[in-house]
Symmetry: C3
Subunit: 443 residues, 3 copies
Amino acid sequence: MKPSNILKSLTSVAIVVALLTGPAAAQVESTIDQETTFVFNTFMFLVMGFLVMWMAAGFAMLESGMVRSKNVATICTKNIALYSIAGLMYWLIGYNLMYDGVNGGFFGSLTWFTYPAAEALKTAKDYGAYAAASDWFFQMVFCATAASIVSGTLAERIKLWPFLAFVALLTGIIYPITGAWKWGAGWLETQGFLDFAGSTLVHSVGGWAALTGAIILGPRLGKYTKGMTNPLPGSSLPLATLGTFILWLGWFGFNGGSQLAIASFENASAVARIFANTNTAAAAGVVTAMAVTQLVYKKVDLTMALNGALAGLVSITAEPLTPSFGMAAIIGGVGGAIVVFAVPLLDKFKIDDVVGAIPVHLAAGIWGTLAVPLTNPDGSFLTQLTGIVAIGSFVVITSTIIWMVLKTTVGIRISPEDEEKGLDQAELGLEAYPEFGAGSQRL
Amino acid sequence: MKPSNILKSLTSVAIVVALLTGPAAAQVESTIDQETTFVFNTFMFLVMGFLVMWMAAGFAMLESGMVRSKNVATICTKNIALYSIAGLMYWLIGYNLMYDGVNGGFFGSLTWFTYPAAEALKTAKDYGAYAAASDWFFQMVFCATAASIVSGTLAERIKLWPFLAFVALLTGIIYPITGAWKWGAGWLETQGFLDFAGSTLVHSVGGWAALTGAIILGPRLGKYTKGMTNPLPGSSLPLATLGTFILWLGWFGFNGGSQLAIASFENASAVARIFANTNTAAAAGVVTAMAVTQLVYKKVDLTMALNGALAGLVSITAEPLTPSFGMAAIIGGVGGAIVVFAVPLLDKFKIDDVVGAIPVHLAAGIWGTLAVPLTNPDGSFLTQLTGIVAIGSFVVITSTIIWMVLKTTVGIRISPEDEEKGLDQAELGLEAYPEFGAGSQRL
Amino acid sequence: MKPSNILKSLTSVAIVVALLTGPAAAQVESTIDQETTFVFNTFMFLVMGFLVMWMAAGFAMLESGMVRSKNVATICTKNIALYSIAGLMYWLIGYNLMYDGVNGGFFGSLTWFTYPAAEALKTAKDYGAYAAASDWFFQMVFCATAASIVSGTLAERIKLWPFLAFVALLTGIIYPITGAWKWGAGWLETQGFLDFAGSTLVHSVGGWAALTGAIILGPRLGKYTKGMTNPLPGSSLPLATLGTFILWLGWFGFNGGSQLAIASFENASAVARIFANTNTAAAAGVVTAMAVTQLVYKKVDLTMALNGALAGLVSITAEPLTPSFGMAAIIGGVGGAIVVFAVPLLDKFKIDDVVGAIPVHLAAGIWGTLAVPLTNPDGSFLTQLTGIVAIGSFVVITSTIIWMVLKTTVGIRISPEDEEKGLDQAELGLEAYPEFGAGSQRL
């Protein structure tokens, strides 16, 4: 369990307040008794958690809309499978590796998560500030989000099972270890690194893994020919739009739930403020991305507007509480602008990112993490940079090892013939739209 | 902040009850302390608010399904942009114009909304009955809904940026001013006008703005030829169905959250009753619209069933609390029937409403507002009519001015060539479905 | 009202605990006062209830994706209509037939549900443990779920209005009667039959009704020719995937809300544990279904992965609280495997189930009900079997009578010409995708 959880939540229990002396603890006094607090926080975790779970559907729709019709069924398969694998791995290995006894170190214990005995007991002192299972659920859906980021970048050319093998290691080992450094009260937490809801811990982790994979896997056939970048447009922009709206909705849970408590004047106010700031950053991301594309390219691009929303959301994720409305708009707006410039930059290096996940989750994630000290006086630019570099290095190194082992053993890329034909035919033997598009040509 | 908010919510705090003397206040006694009440109401606003936010996705899907494939990407762009602009304008101008110091008058203050200092303070008396940011969030998503209504009616022929300019003025100025008259405790509130969740304040405001725009913009090419009305069917009825289900789900937040408080026997019972009545009205709207189309046209029409659901929802919005199940079914059922007859009526006047937003939001919105006195003894038919006419006149006049200024300066309608080609090609230079439909013809 | 409701919920009120003596009651002590408990439970029912309502959209999308494009508008019409009819029938007949005065018997009273007078009164003793309307809402969406199951199986060949007539009787009479046996405190409850959230009471009831209908209606034209089973692939696998994610999300409400109370350490812990177990069973269902299809057919099948998720969810529904993570994974995993083998088994008997609802909801529902004694010591294998057989027999007999009466009077199957043309043209006179697929061929 996160120590920060315990700090924030337990302190809202009046009887515990007396035991705490620091100024942070003193801020969160509450007259609400322990059992009511427990119910509030648990209910909040479950509601915010199901919103984050729903983001898995958002990624599935975003990616379904951004790939060509011949690869849609495969990306759907990957998305439902990766969410499932994350759910199992985070129970079997991830949660305790991230939270159990990290104590300022690098990782926790290699045990699986079980419901604590306290939940079967009868006295108040056996209970914490929320149900352990609700915290597990909330943290599990975060872990799944990191994996969702990878699937979009590597779409249309990676083999199904090797991709899922990577997901198992990402969600069971890589994400929990870097998570332990901060949220598990490891060495980065000790250093004072700040990352409220995971611009770095979730989004950049997914982004670095995606970037590493994209470089090792190489671009799709026909993406870069004779020095030209060919767009290879996705099959359904309304599904991509739906996916973006789902992600935006889910993000209220992602950021709001990361307050980890709601049962006091201050915690409830904080969650509300996080909702407002999260929405403002996303809105500014959309408007900025649209304005910049209009100015630079003389046309608005829907996919840029969508990625602008997501970049705004990623940017505010490292610190959604302390900014004013105006600062939230600036932080999100800069994120929206970053995306417009990062997309062609990747193409310049021939790094093929099918949905733009690297600009959105990695570039805006770094920006958001660096922006924390702008509004939070506890933040230090140098410490933020330390965290970004440390986590980035770890993820790049471990991901590279895993991708290379998979590449040299089972192989990670489908054959050029299968890529031409589409993964749906090659890997699943079916069609996403058998009567339309690629499917109808075979009728 | 709404005075009705304060009345309903603060009265649920036991310590405040003693200060109040009216019979309405006496009804809402509660033994729940102020801090617990604050947490309940804030949490309720956030949950109901995210449901209403989700309605933005519902409008996007409904409209994506109801326009032809050559205009789908543009309608997606408009929907994510209008929600973003509403979020920024309502912070910069709208909220305080609607709620800050209206005092029985016509509008509030021209200042932007900031988080009140009270939220950083430590004593209970600095807090109200809910977090200010949660109320801002809940009211902002209502404002966005009004703008969503306009985009559907004007689809397939309006230019992107002029439409968004109208949205900025609608969400920053028009909606907040008429909102101030009732929810901001302005002159209509003083008169006793009743509109619980906004049949008039939200849905008719959007509907009047859409109607004005549709008349000034003119119908789509080929819609009305030689005295005939041509259907121009939408590209994806499953997306339109999805959009309707999203709106239905979101409406539980729209109506339920408008109780503005949940922390007492009576407030919780009221929210529950609103959920049941809202669902019943929508269900009756569907069944009535289906039955009427079967009787009149000898066939069921899916789009009429969908609009029947929405009309039932709009109809019950002005008063979802006082009706019995039976009255809720009647109010919603009449709404469903109204739509079936209003759609061909608009066509008779050659007013081209792509998704049927005027019948659904304006016609059923007027019906719902007039129906309030049927179940609420505090309602007066004459006062309801006063509100409808006053708000309608204001929105029609201000919208006409804005549309005409836009028309005579930057222009609001794309060229006939671009309309033929589709807005996606003309305005965005891309395709919503590059492999299907209009897109595939260019492959 | 469910007696189990009253037991679980009222016992969380401290003042009532003293009146109860059984060991079950003693487990759920709480220091939270009655009014706060009332607000918590009501809010919980509304949140979990809107998640289950959202499942109606999930079924609509799953079925839209699994039928051919010529039948998509009709399946959308059926889904919005069946949800509406369920909402009206469950008010007019269903709820009181299921809950009002069953007393160990076979059904309740033939009266419609009204808001109890208690909700207008002022004293705490007039209120129960939650708002009556919130319970009605929660139970109504369960009833609608049973009807949703039927529409998928019988798609692409059943007439619209006769199908809706069956839905009216299923939701108004059949489902409430079998529901009364257990949740209405009827004879099966007396016997000790266990079905926490309805593997049998909801999913098998829908499954048996679907099976009976499929046999009486016969398979689609061209499904079984010369001893071969032809796949007739669905029109949009991303919509089927979206539907599955919606159902997964909704299931947290389905199972979590069935705890019927949240306002104590133990109830909140129970709801949290149910969320974790529900997710784990679904995840295991996906992984198992994928692994089994890979082993048996040498390819992963997306529709099997989706149905694996749903089968895992159905399997854990009869008992989502008592299993450990490991047992939840096993119960869900077995469900996922059952689906892979049940689908071809149905085809062997030439029973044409368009979406696989019988394997998912009936087969996995039986498995889940039988699995209860594995983790819940109160469960008896024989009593579980009694419940399965009794409910199955009742639903099969009553459904057969209704289907046969409809068949011999108005007819239930469209003509072969109309089936060839598609129900959208034949029954609605429109196209789901007028520019793509079947629609575009008529342009």
